[in-house]
Each structure stands twice: as C-alpha cells, then as structure tokens.
Symmetry: D2
Subunit: 333 residues, 4 copies
Amino acid sequence: MTDLPVFGAGIWHFATYKDRYATDGYGDPVGLLEQIDRAGAVGDLSVVDLNWPFAGYDGTLDDVKAALDRNGLRAIAITPEIYTRDFVKGSITNPDPAIRKRAIELLHEATELAKDLGCSYVKLWPGQDGWDYPFQVNYHDIWNLALDGLRELVSAHPDINFVIEYKPREPRVKIIFPNVARTLLGIEKIGLPNLGILLDFGHSLYGLETPADAAQLAIDYGRLFAIDVNDNLRGWDDDMVVGSVHLVETFEFFHTLRKNNWEGVWQLDQFPFREDSVEAAKQAIRFLKAVHLALDTLDEEALAAAQASHDALASQRLIQRALLTSMAGLEDA
Amino acid sequence: MTDLPVFGAGIWHFATYKDRYATDGYGDPVGLLEQIDRAGAVGDLSVVDLNWPFAGYDGTLDDVKAALDRNGLRAIAITPEIYTRDFVKGSITNPDPAIRKRAIELLHEATELAKDLGCSYVKLWPGQDGWDYPFQVNYHDIWNLALDGLRELVSAHPDINFVIEYKPREPRVKIIFPNVARTLLGIEKIGLPNLGILLDFGHSLYGLETPADAAQLAIDYGRLFAIDVNDNLRGWDDDMVVGSVHLVETFEFFHTLRKNNWEGVWQLDQFPFREDSVEAAKQAIRFLKAVHLALDTLDEEALAAAQASHDALASQRLIQRALLTSMAGLEDA
Amino acid sequence: MTDLPVFGAGIWHFATYKDRYATDGYGDPVGLLEQIDRAGAVGDLSVVDLNWPFAGYDGTLDDVKAALDRNGLRAIAITPEIYTRDFVKGSITNPDPAIRKRAIELLHEATELAKDLGCSYVKLWPGQDGWDYPFQVNYHDIWNLALDGLRELVSAHPDINFVIEYKPREPRVKIIFPNVARTLLGIEKIGLPNLGILLDFGHSLYGLETPADAAQLAIDYGRLFAIDVNDNLRGWDDDMVVGSVHLVETFEFFHTLRKNNWEGVWQLDQFPFREDSVEAAKQAIRFLKAVHLALDTLDEEALAAAQASHDALASQRLIQRALLTSMAGLEDA
Amino acid sequence: MTDLPVFGAGIWHFATYKDRYATDGYGDPVGLLEQIDRAGAVGDLSVVDLNWPFAGYDGTLDDVKAALDRNGLRAIAITPEIYTRDFVKGSITNPDPAIRKRAIELLHEATELAKDLGCSYVKLWPGQDGWDYPFQVNYHDIWNLALDGLRELVSAHPDINFVIEYKPREPRVKIIFPNVARTLLGIEKIGLPNLGILLDFGHSLYGLETPADAAQLAIDYGRLFAIDVNDNLRGWDDDMVVGSVHLVETFEFFHTLRKNNWEGVWQLDQFPFREDSVEAAKQAIRFLKAVHLALDTLDEEALAAAQASHDALASQRLIQRALLTSMAGLEDA
C-alpha cells in the first residue's frame, strides 16, 4: 500500500448541534477543548479546521494550543463565523455598510489568528450571503459586493491562502457562490494568487455537479486548495458519514485527485447529529482507507483506455473490481 | 366577494429561529405572550396553533389565555414538541421503550391541554421519527411502532381530533409519514374516526406531489382535517411566504378545497427567518385574499368543461384571467 | 454460496431507442427475434418480459416461441403498450371514452396472450395516464377512472396476476400511480387478490422513497409481485446499469427481499442507449452476483442488533465489510 | 404601453414529437413548410429558429424562404442537429476523431446556411456531449475537446455570432455546458467576441440557478446573445408553456432584461407534446404580453429601494401589485 494521506476534520464534527426544531440541541454542549480531545481520540486525524470566534469558550488561546498539542493535532485552517446572528442577511454582501465593515474586520482578525496558529488557509464560507425570494436583491450589485469584499480581504494578506467553500444553498435559499464554475469566475476576476477553492464533495453532489469533474476544473485553474468529504442523498447537505451512500463517486473523486498528484488533506466535514462523533470519524476513515487501497489496485492503464473511448461498461468493471475487493485487504474492516 | 375564510397561523411564525449555523438565533428571543401579541397585530388572524411545552415560558396558562383573548385569538390546535432533544432518535418510534413511553405521556398531556383550551385538534408532527442512513432501521418494525403508538394515543381520546402532518424529510433524512398516500394507508389501518391529516402545502410540493391532488385524495377519504400554507423552491421546506413563488398551484389548491366545500382555516406555516413576522403574515394574507377573490371570478363551468377534456391550454387561460386580475379588485394591494 | 436467483430482463433492454432529440434512433433497429437472441447471449437470463403489440414484427407467434426456446428463455410477463400514439393523453384514464374502451380491449388481448405464453403476470405501466399542467384535470375523476378501469380488467381474469409498475413521472409530468403507497391505496380499494405491484428500484429511488422500505411495505400488504432493477442519479429515470451508482441501497433492497423470503425474479429494466446491450446485462449480473454473495456473508444477527437500536454506524460497518469484499469471492470479476 | 418586444419561436415548437415510449410519435408528422405555416398562424411571431439538416424535408431552400416570406417570418438562427444518431456519443467531444471531424463539417455547413438566410446567430446545443456514468470519461480531456472544437468553428466565421445553449442534462445524464458560469468560463477561455450564450429560462430553472441572476451575469460579461422561454417543475426540462407555473420568476427574468436595456427576441422553446401547437404559442404570448404590461406598471423606484435593503416583503408586494393586475389591462385575456 502506498503511504496513507493526511486525514483531517472540521472541529465542529465533534460538537453537538442545534437546528430549527431541536433548538435545545442534539445533546449536551461540548466545549472546544473537549472537541479537540475527541478529535484526538479518533486516532487517525492529524489536522483540524477551527471555527472562530471560539463559541462558548472563555479560556485562553494557549489552552487551545496545548489541547491541540497533546492530541497530536495541528490547526490547518480557521473558519470565521460570518453566518451567525449579526450576519443573517449577509456578511460581505450585507445591505448595511456597517455590517459589511464588521464582517471584514472579523475576517481580518481571523486571518491574524490563522497566521499565529500556522494555518495553511482561512476558509470563507459565506452561507448567509445570497437571497431567499425572487426580486429580493439586485444580482449585479450583490455579486460585485462579494468580489469587492474578497479583493479587499485577500489582497491585504498575501502571506496566507484563502479558500471559498461554495455551496448551492442553506442557510440562504440561494448562496452567491453556489458551484465550482461561478466561484472560479469570481476568483479569476479578482485575480489574486492566494485565493482558491475548498471543494466540499457533498456540496458538489447535491449542486448537480459531478464532484470529480468539479475537482478537475479547479485543478486545471490551479485553484483547488482544499477539499472536504461527507455524503448525502443528492437533495440537501446532509453531511452524512463518507461512504454511506456514494461509494463510486467518492472513489472517482479521490481518483481524480491522485491522477493530478494533488496532495492535500483528506478532510471530514460531517455532522453526526445522532451518532457518536468519534465513531463517525472512525467509520469514515475506515472507508477512506479502503478507497486509498482501491486506488492502489485499480488498473490505471486499462481505465485510461476505457475512458479514451468513453466505454462506461469497461470502466465500471474495472472500478468495481477494485472497490468491491478493497476491504478484503484492510485489517480494521 | 363571498365571505372571507378564517385565517390562522402557527404561533412559531412570530418567534425567532435558530438553525445549525446561526446557533445564537436570527434575532432576540421572543416570549410566548409577545408572540401572541404579534399574531394579534396582524389584524386578520382569528386562530393560532400553539406549541407545547411552552418553551422558555414560565408564566401561567391563564396568562396565555388572557393574551389570546385580548388579541381576539383562539387556540385551534396544540402541537406537542416531540422533536426536541429527548426525541432526536424518534418519539413514538424511538428504539428505546422508555423514551417511547415518555413521548406518549407527553402526547397525552398535550391532548388534555388541547381539550382545556377548546382546540379543534392535536397536531402530530413526527419529524424525528424516521431514519438517516441505509440499513439503519428495520422498516417493518418502525412502521408498526408508529401505528401502535398512534392507535394507543388516538383511541384514548375519542372526544378530540388528531392530525398527522406528513413531511418527506427534515430534520430526519427520511420521515415515516412522508406523503399523503402513506399517511392515509396508516390511518386506514388504524381505523379510528378521529385521526386525519394536516396537509402542509409546501411539504406536498417538495415531496413531488401535486398539492391539489393530495388534498382531493385526503378529502375523498374523509381525512382532510386541516391545512397549512407557505411556499418553497420544490427542493426543501423553505417555509417562505405564501404566494412568493407558486401562485398557480396555490390557487389550484384552494380551488380544490372550495370545490369540495371544505371549510377549514387557511393557516400559515411560515418561517420568516430574516423578515418582520407581522409583515410576513400581512403579505401572505394579502395574497390569500387575492386568491379568494380569484376563486369568486373564476368561470367554474368553463373550467369543468376544459378539465373534462384535459385541455391544459383552455384551463390555463381561464385561471390566468382570474388570477392576473385578482389584485385589481383588492383595496389593500 | 446459496443458490443464485433467477435473472430476467425486459426485452426492450436489447432493442435500440429513440428519444425526442435522436428521433432517428440510437442505432439500427433491432427486430424482436434478434432482441431475444441477444437476451439469450447474455448467458445468465432465464426469463424475459415482452412488450405487446410486437412493434415492427410481422412474423408469427410460433416464431417468437421458437426464439425463446432456442435461447432457453421463458416469457414471464407481457407489457401491453398503452403509452404509444393512441394513448398519449391516457389509456384507462383517457378523457375520450372511445379511447378508454380501446385501451381496455388491448389489455384484454394482451392478457390472453400472456395466458397463452404461460406468463406469471401482465404488467400495467400507465405512463401516459396523468397530467402535465396545473388545473388540467379533475383529480377526483381521473383517479376513479383509473380504479374503475383496473377493476374491470383485473376482475375479468382471475386466473392470472396483474402488476402496476408505479413511477413518479415521464412521459407525463405526473403519473397517476407515482409511489408505492398511492398504488397500494388503489389496490386495496379495488380489493382483488390478483392485482399487485412491480417495484422498479429506480422509480422508487428518484421518487424520494427508500426502495427497501417501499419493498417492505408492499410485502407487508402481500402485494409485491415483481421487481425491476436499474440505477439513476435520483433525479430522473435514467435506467442505468444496476450497481453503477447506488451500491448500498441496491444491496439493502435485496437484503429486504431475502429477509422476507421473497423469491421472485431479479429482473433488469435498463436502457443502454449508448452501450452494447449484451455487455450491459452482463455487467449488471456480475454486480448482482456480488450482491448475492454479500448477502451470504453479511452478519445478520449483528445487523439485527444494530437496527434494533437504530445504530447507523454499526450497520454501515457490517454492510461495508460484506459489500466491499464481495468481488474477492467472485470468479468472473 | 411601451412597444411590444419581437416574439419568436423554435420551429420545432410546431412539429410533432417522439420519445422513448411513444416511438410512433405524438401525432402525424408535420413537414417543415407546414411547421412554418403554423408559426405564421400564431399571428404574433416575427422570427423562427430553424433546425438543420431539414429532417424529412426534400424540397428546395427557396421553398423554405418562400414559406417564411408568406408568413411574415425571418430566420433568426440555425440550430445544427449535432445530437442525432451519428452523434449520440458526442459531437465535438466524440471519442472518435472521425465523428468529431464530421460534426465540425456539419457545423461549418450550417453556418454557411445561416449566413445565406441572414440569421443573427448559429445556435450550438451539445446535448449529446457529456457523460452518463461515473468514471466514463476523462473530464480534463472532454472539456478541452469542447473548447478546441468551438475555437476552431467560431474563429473561422468572424462575420456571424454563435451561441451556446447550456443545459444541465438530457439526453446525456450530464452535459459539458450545464450552467451559465461554466459556459462563461469556457467562452472567456476561448476569447472570441462572436461566441455568447443563449439562456434558456427552463434550463436555468431546473439547473438550480435563479434565471434572472444567470441573465445578469451573462449580461455583465457581454455574452447574453439570445434567450428562450418555457416552464417546468424544476426537476426536468419539461418545456411547458411559459407562465404555466413560474409567473414570478419569469417576470423577474424579463425585468432583468429590461433593466439592462437588453433588446433581443422573446423566444419560445416549448414542446406542446399533447397540445395544439398554435394555441400553445398563443397562450404563451398572451402571458408574455401581460408580463410586458406589468413591467410598464411596476414601480421601479420603489423596487430599487426595496432591493437596496434586501427587503423581500416590500418587493413581493410591489411585484404582485403589478403582476396580479396585469391582465386587467389586456384586451385579449
């Protein structure tokens, strides 16, 4: 077996959740340090993505660093919370200039923290930037506000990368960066080298894309800076455990990454609402190891030949042979 | 113009909301009595549906009654909260018998309160009863647990009606009562006269149904006890303001009700996350009055003739003539 | 390995196709006898479902029987073509009584042929019975026409079974039998023992159902008479090769059948528009054999325990262990 | 009322159709000249888009010109048939270089015809260019084949415009130009001034876009060369009559065009499978005239103010006032 990839997770994987019905939460709150300890308990994780501000945490940054250290974890990214109460009508596209300003300030602060922690990138997820109703916004204006805000932020920090995590919808009914191509259009218009894409497999899937195709496009533009994986039923961002539904397309996604020598982190963005979060991560990584093993055994030459003639049956046969034997070689299965 | 219908709303229309991102809420919390006052401020509402337990309310029931009175409102229904933390893996279908028991007890208590308040029905919305993952549950068992639980509850209270509000998904990835036909199958199997359906227009729409057809079926089985209206983009339960997207199908839905002499409440189930809740209700009712007026002017005889030959163009012309002139006759538009 | 199931296919699997764009067809027309020979060439098929009238065939029935014989095939079903030009506004629900009459006559003739060929059932697929536009039909009337037509047909032939193949849409925008529950409601209302359901896995999947749950419900009502399998992307009836996308849910579907000792044919309903049809069937059966093998190795006791507590992670682990090793034991993979 | 726009239609609107079930067609074939006469019979159409080769037509080009003349019609575009039998595995992206060459040749010929007829543009709709199965194609290669083919074609004809009509899927399960942003990325990469977009409202709608936003983006890139309208249920390209479902979003789409002083043709791309095609066009234009009238009465200043603060309720009220009174001022309603 070739070397395993580096595994990571969003720290929220180890929190508990609320939604609009269970407003009292899907379990007792889990503090930030405990979330980090849970991430450590998974055993295969090396990096985590941290939300900031640290919601509900009143300890010191040093304690956070210590918790990461004792669990063998590194902060790979900061995800600024630009989607909480202050920003429910938008962050960098908020109709109120004062709130736009506050959003940019928060983003600057988060960026400084990311640098302090030695992160690889700052993750921008503008989930509240968009619209809900027909005729609600002027599309020209909101798009330009988004690009202006990004340009201002990203150009001020040439020493760190930024990624946009696109998503079709939720919480807004429509989000300004809904798919890979629209996001690349924006990035190219802005024209800065340190702004790229975090491609969330599930967002791509329920956004009508073929995730492997989206990844290839972002790679061809030199903009695939990071990825997240999870699963869903193609209608919503269910954030289910990787490999619970779309085995073949997950395999194809990682195949595309390997073929392009993409060597980033295999990162989990799962919401185990009703599951043990440590076990959910373990189950995901068990499947991802099987995928990794299947990539080792896949007959790449035969696959390339099949693809050269668009032979769907030949390629299906090859990939099933690799995927449906993959756990036979896995100790932990 | 014929007499206007009775308008109502779920009291949560006038609350503020949380979701999994804005966990600090879309605004300051609004207490129960203030919610009732806001419902009163709409001006056209006569009835409300109350959640119970009264979350975050520590006043007396008498104060609730007084608030309803001073706003000219009546409680038409109680919606027991069988989808909060205790029940995130299900209420009447929870795998743990102790939690199933607790759910039934809560439902009995809610029913007593409904009787005390003179409600027309108790609304059952088993949004946490279902599954998320393939192979998670035994489908035979969970379905029978649901029917057993309903039979036990409903048969114990022959003096009040119960309604099931079906919904395809959310918060569970799949809910046990996802559509009108499945719900009717269950109701017929249970065989009690006081168990019916609350048809939520939006649930029907994003569940691939034609809402007017679903209403007709429920009526033909004598089980359409109540309705809720709102709107969405056919992919999720967006709970947008009525008439913001699906004007024609909303019109058809109410046309079906009138044709069958169905005379229940026209009730709002909207979640104005980012809007003023009183204004959102007013906007909805303004549109519903236009619908009501359009029903008055629609040429029913010509429509029946068009439908007898499945003539889509003739019926489109007739209904556009009624709908696209409807606000010309409305003072408040 | 336990005994393999009986494999079958719709004979159209081996035809060529047209659609609204490639009106000149996806290849040269393939005559009925050649379709049968192709079915024989697959090697693992024992039964076929035949469309009738035999479109474009002017030979004798004896020649058809001879072709079946020489390929070791049996006709398991007749699928009457009640969706061609005469019936584009409906068969048994056509607004024109003369066409409804013609549809019933064609169905009687098809039934006689099915008996002559020793078929197990007549398959009813009312794909043109439904509506396209809001307000186009009277939903009460069209539903009752459907039930009346079925009652008339099915009661006249107590010596053979009939199945309804439900489907959400296509070619009509909405079809009268869109899902399992609505179809069961109709069947129960008709109340005849020889009317059941053919559950097409793909129809169930893109109709927002969980196919295994739909199968369980039909079994619990004693109405699961037949099944078809294929695959799609959950948004349309793509009729792709089985196992190309939804491996886990296909596995779960067959697991439900085995658990209930359901012993019918594993039947293909694929449309290999651009693929070699014999190879497409072979690829499908290769995967289905892996599923069969996985069912043999699945730890049923542990799965039942996991399901009793709705433990999604435990069940995922068990089924991945079975599925992702299944081809290791398959000679032909 | 301001001057009416120019109305147009794809000539196929007046043909009859086949699909994979009604392979004998939804009616008797209608010859090209008769299609043109039907277009003329609508009364409000000024231009048509012609498929080429003229399927089933063996008359002269002069006869076609004469038919257009006598009906007061002009050919605004040629749509080359690069999606029939020869091209079912792709035209400019076909894996077979010989077929790619043939596709390009056909496109050159079609372009010459377009010039001869004085058309405004050649419409490229690569509906067979894409993939159906995971792992079927190399995404990098197929995308570059598409761009290469377009560059070769479009650069050879600087004297006429070309448009790409993007579409998410059908007939391929995935099409290479699925949405506005991906198409703009390709166009910008090619970098020729005479290549733009034809935005089909229905494609945009069921592709998860907001059509008005897609139009704005294409306009902002100077690439919105043409539009088509129709309607659907957001899940498939139903090509229903304009205004039968999405009144508000159709209104918003045309509002965006007017606001930007976009002055192209309002063109129909409807497939009235079971309707009289002349009546279907008349019904569409009746609605479009109401939209035009509503645009005249809409309070633009108030709307701009509402949009400046993202006030969904205020904008809903304004647009309902305009839309739901629009037919009161229409003679023909």
